[in-house]
Symmetry: C2
Subunit: 132 residues, 2 copies
DNA sequence: CGCCTATCTAACCATACGGTTATATAACCT
DNA sequence: AGGTTATATAACCGTATGGTTAGATAGGCG
């Protein structure tokens, strides 16, 4: 029902470790739902819903063989993600390079590292103490 | 407090067109919240929540300059997505190639090729990780 | 100091999501 | 036909998400 744009649907589908694990299994080759579901500790309906999400996201396709629904990876969905990423790849590559430069400079001169190249060192620093 | 793994948080953050548009704007350079928010038809708190999601996903960092909180892209988050994708990139490239081959063959020899499926997903190496 | 700008938090609401159990559909097998 | 296997749907539940309005917090400025 949410009827999101395709890229949003794809990212949403990937935002669940169970579904990513399903894709990893399908990378081994086409398989039926039961076989796919084997490693997961959840009931059939949950599996079925995950598969529907993956299918609507363009990440898998399902065929029919008797009562089985063989699932296989669909390349198009991940390709869409990759295409979206392409615009940013150069950008973060540049900035990671500069971060590397900065960290190297830090190691070379631990006393007073003054970057100037990078805007700020900003290492993962979770929420500050705004809340009192 | 969903406490999801980092990759799930990142994909979830990307599964919203407003947040992707924010990243696109930040690709132009660091900017303050108000400036970032200008194109979006929603109230401040909604913007603030989106930024928090992006920050916790490792996609942006926020500094401080007086009462402003300048936001900038963080390369690490998208790098994580790209690394995850890397395992699949070869896979779909192969399969898209085989689709191309198949379509070329169809054009070259029409009428003879009538397989039920384009290509069997015979994949030499699965992705390394099923989670995270 | 008091005011203004910029931004975040709190509380709330509607809807979506991920799971469950119970039931339905579809196809195969005697 | 009746039974079994494989999978999907329906109805429901608790929590998460994306938005709102109202108020809080932080810092510059008259």
């Amino acid at each position: 029902m949410p009827r999101a744009d395709p890229l949003s649907s794809t990212f949403a589908a990937l935002a669940d470790p169970t579904r990513r694990a399903m894709l990893a299994r399908l990378a081994l080759g086409e398989m039926n739902v039961n076989e796919l579901a084997k490693p997961f500790k959840m009931t059939g309906p949950a599996i079925s819903k995950h598969l529907k999400v993956l299918e609507r996201a363009g990440l898998i396709t399902r065929g029919r063989a008797a009562q089985r629904r063989p699932c296989q990876l669909a390349p198009a969905g991940l390709k869409g993600v990759d295409d979206w990423l392409a615009d940013y790849r150069r950008l973060w590559a540049e900035r990671l390079d500069r971060l590397d430069d900065y960290l190297s400079a830090l190691q070379a001169k631990p006393g007073q590292a003054k970057p100037g190249k990078v805007a700020a060192p900003q290492v993962p620093k979770p929420p500050r103490s705004t809340k009192g």
